[in-house]
């Protein structure tokens, strides 16, 4: 029966595809990295591969989401958080190998796309004026529920006394990369994003930015830790992150380490 033969053939083809090789079984460890590291970590991972011949796989997202996924058993081997609080909690629950290491202090900036009516100033005076004049339609930050850069943006806006008035115009990115995407898409006057993203070659050409005063929000003390299932390649990459080449890349993206830490 010709039709049936075809049906069987289609099913066999599907099964063949399903059983097929998983295109080079990949056992490179997965690094869960906060979105503010989007470009810096790609560079570091590439340098690591050139130097050692070892590979890591990167997964980018919001720190809060990663912390939740790690609790649910996600198979990450390194967690680079945008805020040390999340590492401390996971450590207390016995999910990390140790207390981890501080690897950067992050900063936030006001960034506006080219052609925006808003002037980028870290003190947000122009934002306050435009808000009062009803000239703000959309302003982007990362979601303060689970993204540290969103939490700090909220603190800075509260310090400046703009948080409540800005509410109706707020668009929230799922993480700080998406907030940057929203802020610079031309559909918003601007937003508050990570300094490291504003400095990256992909984002810098898209607008102008200005640092928000450091004392307007809690510091973004970024900590990383090896998770309990970390293997030798993850350990090597973790050590590499503290070496001069990686540090130099981090500094180029505006991440400083405080003296003596």
């Amino acid at each position: 029966m010709f039709l049936i033969r075809r049906l069987v053939l289609a099913a066999t083809a599907a099964l063949g595809l399903a059983w097929g090789p998983a295109l080079a079984q990949d056992d490179a460890p997965v690094v869960a990295a906060a979105s503010d590291l989007q470009f810096a970590i790609e560079e570091i991972a590439a340098a690591f591969e050139v130097e050692t011949g070892m590979r890591v796989r990167l997964s980018m997202g919001s720190t809060g989401n990663f912390a939740r996924q790690i609790r649910e058993g996600a198979p990450f081997q390194i967690f680079m958080a945008a805020d040390e609080q999340f590492i401390a909690e996971l450590h207390a629950e016995g999910l990390t190998r140790d207390a981890g290491d501080l690897y950067a202090i992050g900063r936030i900036v006001v960034m506006v796309p080219h052609g925006s009516t808003l002037t980028p100033d870290g003190e947000m005076d122009n934002l306050a004026e435009m808000l009062a004049a009803g000239q703000i339609t959309r302003f982007a930050i990362a979601n303060p529920d689970h993204a540290p850069y969103g939490m700090r943006a909220r603190e800075a806006l509260i310090t400046r006394g703009l948080w409540d008035d800005l509410q109706p115009f707020m668009v929230l990115g799922e993480n700080v990369s998406q907030a940057a995407q929203f802020a610079l898409s031309g559909n918003a006057e601007g937003g508050i994003i990570a300094y490291s993203l504003a400095l990256s070659p992909q984002v810098a050409p898209q607008g102008k930015y200005d640092l928000i005063p450091e004392d307007w929000h809690e510091p973004l003390r970024q900590r990383m830790a090896l998770l309990s299932n970390a293997g030798p390649v993850a350990e090597a990459f973790y050590a590499y992150l503290m070496e001069p080449i990686a540090r130099e890349i981090m500094e180029r993206y505006g991440f400083a380490l405080p003296e003596g830490e």
Binding site: L15, A18, L23, S35, Q38, S59, E72, P75, Q181
Partner: protein
């Protein structure tokens, strides 16, 4: 172009089709021919994934497959690996999510077979299995084929559930749809555009081929 992600999506779609093919034939046939109490509820349950937001399904899957759940722990003890944040977990999620696409068109296919035809087969002494194989499947074939193609194409495009239970792990749970999302967040619009166009082309090709096949078969049968 993220070939790893595309290949992963194709494998996921193939697995889903392979698992749902027998399910669609037997469930579709059962629902088409049988009347029983609670049939309405069963049909509603089959359709449910179609109307629920993927996030709702994703949430329930996280809760029911997570490592603290009975299912998650059973899986861990049998296979020694996690169900959530793994390719196997995506297959399970995808199978559940595609039930309406796999069963509905097949059911319609079997319903379209005149009852006299089936009775004639039984009168001639055919066993139910032989009747299915020689009479019913050839007639219901366009429905079953449509079901499988919809399932395949739909799996390629699945995003919400994968985002909830996958974790975007390259080569494991980072499907083409997730890769596109990640590219956009990484300000790589060109990469996102290439991948999106590829996905559109594959989906269009798959569906066109099938409908062409179905139409030809339909003509030959009538």
């Amino acid at each position: 172009m993220d070939w790893t992600a595309l290949w992963l999506s194709l494998r996921l779609a193939a697995w889903t089709v392979a698992i749902l093919l027998p399910v669609s034939i037997f469930m579709g046939r059962f629902l088409a021919y049988r009347d029983f109490r609670g049939k309405g509820l069963v049909e509603a349950l089959v359709i449910l994934p179609l109307v629920l937001p993927p996030t709702v399904l994703g949430f329930y899957l996280l809760v029911s497959f997570g490592r603290n759940s009975p299912i998650g722990q059973w899986w861990q003890s049998v296979f020694g690996s996690q169900l959530v944040f793994s390719f196997e977990g995506l297959v399970v999620a995808s199978v559940i999510f595609n039930l309406p696409f796999a069963i509905q068109p097949a059911q319609r296919g079997f319903e379209a077979i005149a009852v006299e035809v089936r009775e004639a087969a039984r009168c001639c002494g055919m066993s139910p299995m032989a009747s299915l194989w020689k009479i019913e499947l050839p007639l219901a074939w366009p429905g079953v084929m449509t079901a499988m193609v919809l399932t395949f194409a739909h799996t390629l495009g699945e995003f919400g559930i994968v985002l909830m239970v996958g974790g975007s792990i390259p080569g494991e749970t980072k499907t083409i749809a997730i890769a596109i999302y990640d590219r956009v967040q990484g300000f790589d619009n060109r990469g996102a555009a290439i991948m999106s166009a590829t996905l559109v082309a594959i989906s269009l090709f798959t569906i066109t081929i099938t409908y062409g096949l179905s139409a030809r078969i339909g003509r030959r049968l009538s």
